[in-house]
């Protein structure tokens, strides 16, 4: 654990990518595979299951500490992370001196920590956790707490990890990224497979890393030759990969969740695909010739069992964008046009209405694209994706090959009425805002937003909030309704769960309207009119 928490400290202490990669490389060089594979597993955040909730950990701490609960809460509000708050506060609560034992990471993960599953009582759990704390140093306690609460995502992105492994083992980053996708067991066997140079059999369920489009750089794009590019609608559904290998269908979300169970009709449809094929596309709830509202898809994802009723009311459709594997060959290096032709051929042979290949829109100038973009809402799309016809299918977000060109969001001017401190990086800084619109002379909250301001603005607003607080309700503060913001959002729907009667999708701050007095902000009426126009255009 010492070596691992030292690594954690090194990568956490710096924001420099080079420093982090250097520390990771050194770790992989030093460590035995048993530990290294667990380090990878942890940094990738694969330990999703929470062994202990933050609340339980907190209660254990409060039982053995003389810090009163309210003071703990104040500290937590400052730190924004239970695991860290406890580690910092444990310095005041000298635990019974115990011999410090340095057990290797794999032993912690495989033998020590799993003991929590066997405890019979709260007291037993407390004694167990306290004995661990007593055997560790400060940073190790923080690392252990993070592991226990299942949120070990700390300053090391997958990209960084792949970079370090690639440098250390002289393997292509794309190969490593692929091998790290999906679920894996943190075993020596897996580690050996991961770092071997020749390409051996991979698990049938293994997806490819997704390639993502970047926001369009208009200036740069205008210089481009239109004929080099292909445009498609950008759908507001769920990006997914459908895999057919070893007679089985697997569906993966972009968040690397296996979502096969949620979409039985897609499984049935793609069962007909020959083995050794991987298709990239978008899952949408579909009605007639156009997508349904995103809420419909949300319902499909939220349920454990997919009922007949759900299938009938929220039918899905898969819009295919790309073909990544063809007859068991990884074809990501081939140009897009070639992959697309193979895709069309493949899906036509399926002869099912469950899936279609994404339409390639015709255009001959940038002006055409702008016009198409303006029409996307009428199509139920949220803009365009523009891809170079000769582009390979890369990993992550690499600029210059695929662009997304989204419609301008809808917007309303609203006033800030509540603020709450964020967590993590934004702890002790008021960054979670609630905004309101006028309705019959009263302010009615209509959206929450967390992003859109730059750091200077966040700091400025934070100071303002502290000086203009009316009331504190736990972590939430109500503030004088003075600061006006233009709030942008992607969609607006009726909602019974919200007091305002509407809910908006992806709300964010577009602009701080310091020029606008609160009297002049929009009304709920305006919001409903906006809703009506959207529904009519549908």
């Amino acid at each position: 654990m010492k070596r691992f928490s030292q690594l954690f400290q090194q990568v956490d202490a710096t924001t420099s990518t080079n420093e982090k990669v250097r520390a990771l490389r050194q770790y992989f060089y030093d460590e035995i595979p048993e530990n290294a594979v667990w380090a990878i597993y942890l940094f990738l955040g694969k330990t999703r299951k929470r062994l202990i909730t933050s609340r339980v950990l907190r209660d254990v701490f409060l039982q053995i500490s003389n810090i009163p609960e309210w003071l703990f809460e104040d500290c937590y509000a400052h730190v924004g992370d239970s695991a860290e708050t406890i580690a910092l506060l444990l310095r005041h609560s000298p635990l019974e001196a115990q011999e410090k034992v340095d057990r290797p990471l794999h032993e912690w993960m495989e033998k020590v920590i799993p003991q929590v599953k066997a405890v019979q009582s709260e007291g037993e759990l407390r004694d167990l956790v306290v004995s661990w704390w007593a055997s560790l140093e400060d940073t190790e306690i923080f690392v252990l707490n993070k592991i226990l609460t299942g949120a070990f995502r700390v300053g090391v992105s997958e990209k960084l990890l792949v970079k370090a492994l690639s440098a250390e083992y002289n393997l292509a980053e794309s190969v490593l990224a692929h091998r790290l996708m999906g679920d894996f067991e943190p075993s020596i066997g897996f580690y050996r497979q991961l770092i071997q140079t020749d390409n051996e059999e991979i698990a049938p369920s293994q997806p490819y890393p997704f390639f993502l489009a970047s926001p369009l750089d208009e200036d740069r794009f205008q210089e481009e030759e239109p004929a080099r590019w292909q445009a498609e609608w950008k759908w507001d559904g769920m990006r997914a990969q459908i895999i057919k290998r070893a007679d089985e269908v697997f569906i993966w979300s972009r968040g690397e969740d296996l979502i096969t169970q949620q979409f039985p009709e897609l499984v049935e449809g793609f069962q007909l695909l020959p083995n050794g094929h991987v298709v990239d596309g978008e899952i949408l709830c579909w009605e007639g010739d156009r997508p349904m509202n995103f809420n419909a898809l949300q319902k499909r994802l939220g349920r454990k069992s997919v009922t007949k009723k759900l299938l009938a009311e929220n039918p899905v459709h898969f819009v295919a964008y790309d073909l990544l594997e063809h007859n068991s060959q990884d074809i990501r290096e081939k140009p897009l046009l070639e992959r697309r032709n193979l895709l069309v051929e493949l899906l036509t042979s399926l002869s099912t209405s469950l899936t279609t290949v994404s339409t390639s829109l015709s255009f001959s100038s940038f002006a055409d694209l702008q016009e198409l973009r303006e029409r996307s809402r009428q199509q139920g799309a949220e803009g365009l994706v523009i891809k170079a016809k000769d582009s390979p299918y890369l990993v992550g977000r690499k600029r210059g090959y695929w662009w997304k060109y989204k419609v301008n969001p809808m917007s309303l001017d609203a006033v800030l009425i509540y603020a709450q401190a964020g967590t993590g990086k934004r702890a002790n800084l008021f960054t979670d805002y609630t905004f309101a619109l006028w309705h019959n002379g009263e302010l009615v909250s209509f959206a929450k937003a967390y992003s859109g301001l730059d750091n200077d603005e966040i700091n400025e607003l934070d100071k303002w909030i502290r000086r203009h607080t009316i009331e504190k309700f736990g972590p939430v503060r109500s503030v004088e309704p003075i600061q006006v913001f233009e709030i942008g959002f992607e969609g607006i729907t009726e909602s019974k769960r919200h007091k305002s009667g509407i809910s908006v999708r992806f709300p964010r701050i577009l602009r701080w309207r310091k020029d606008k007095p609160v009297e002049e902000i929009d009304t709920l009426q305006t919001a409903f009119e906006l809703l009506k126009t959207i529904e009519q255009s549908n």
Partner: protein, 330 residues
């Protein structure tokens, strides 16, 4: 009987006819130390420690009417006896003791309990009422010694001698403390931003031992600073001044760096935990050592610390609203 009350102008002592660290123009101002939230311009007369005189004149103007006193020297002001006692915060910083009849009140100003080679150590002054700061009044704040943190700073500087190492810190107090502590590890000269340079020279004039410094204003713009340590105030971060350094490694020294979130959102590569304010133990121990039964808590975590003192030590402790700021904002 209240010896000190809060008025619009600042902390006021009616029996003595003076203000302590006032934030508006007043007749007579007693100054605990020269940080800008405690020493403001506009008073007809200032009283402060001799040793802080250089910095006060630098900041408030050479022409101010300033009376210097020694630590411990007793002054008769109105019906009160007033004396200044070391606060261990920065050069010349003082707590102010006010005695009237059988009452003794002490205003702490800003203070710390960790050793600092560039200023006199904190002196515990027994009193009935203690008016304390609480910048870091949460138990998550516990400092290592300045020596230990400066050892880490030295190691960081030495870890990459192919780049300039830019360390951001307060130009008054913290920069000199670092230069003082670094004498234990190095004898190489350190480059300093103009703002740091001016204050460092004043420290040297009163005999504080620090590493040799060179002002960046004296260097040609093309100078490379490869492998050099450079100290600068946080306001210089990402400024045009900073453009002269090619791919520097950057760090920030502040008490706020004790928390990961604060460290990460600052945008410096490294954060070193170093503060000239008392940490939690420092605050709580000091308050209990003064023997004060009544405690007023000014800036920082005033509500938290008051509640804790009241619940845990059964003291009459209350927050006091002032315009002091402590160690900047997060």
């Amino acid at each position: 009987m209240s010896l000190i009350t809060v008025r619009q102008e600042g902390l006021y002592c009616e029996q003595g006819g003076f203000y302590i660290d006032p934030w508006r123009s007043v007749d007579c101002a007693l100054i605990t130390h020269a940080h800008s939230d405690h020493a403001r311009s506009g008073a007809n007369q200032y009283i402060a420690t001799h040793i802080s005189e250089g910095i006060l004149r630098k900041r408030l103007g050479n022409e101010i009417n300033l009376q210097g006193v020694e630590y411990g020297e007793k002054l008769k002001l109105g019906n009160t006896w007033v004396s200044f006692h070391s606060a261990g915060h920065v050069l010349g910083s003082a707590q102010i003791r006010v005695e009237c009849g059988d009452q003794v009140w002490v205003v702490s100003g800003d203070y710390k309990r960790c050793a600092d080679p560039t200023c006199a150590p904190f002196e515990v002054i027994p009193c009935d009422v203690f008016i304390t700061e609480a910048t870091f009044g949460l138990p998550i704040y516990e400092w290592d010694t300045g020596e230990e943190t400066c050892r880490q700073i030295y190691q960081w500087w030495q870890s990459d001698l192919e780049r300039p190492s830019l360390l951001f810190c307060y130009s008054f107090g913290k920069a000199q403390r670092i230069l003082g502590e670094l004498c234990k590890f190095s004898d190489r000269p350190v480059y300093v931003h103009g703002a740091v340079h001016v204050l460092t020279e004043i420290y040297r004039q009163v005999g504080v031992k620090m590493l040799e410094t060179i002002s960046t204003t004296e260097m040609p713009r093309s100078h490379k600073y490869t492998g050099d340590l450079v100290l600068a105030p946080p306001s210089a971060h990402r400024s045009t001044w900073m453009k002269r350094f090619v791919q520097p490694q950057t760090a920030f020294a502040s008490g706020w760096m004790a928390v990961r979130g604060a460290r990460r959102r600052r945008g410096y590569e490294r954060g070193f935990v170093l503060s000239d304010h008392a940490d939690w133990s420092g605050l709580v121990n000091t308050i209990s050592q003064t023997g004060a039964k009544t405690v007023y808590v000014t800036h920082g975590q005033s509500e938290v610390l008051s509640r804790y003192l009241h619940e845990t030590y059964d003291l009459n402790a209350q927050p006091l609203k002032t315009l002091f700021e402590g160690e900047g904002d997060i």
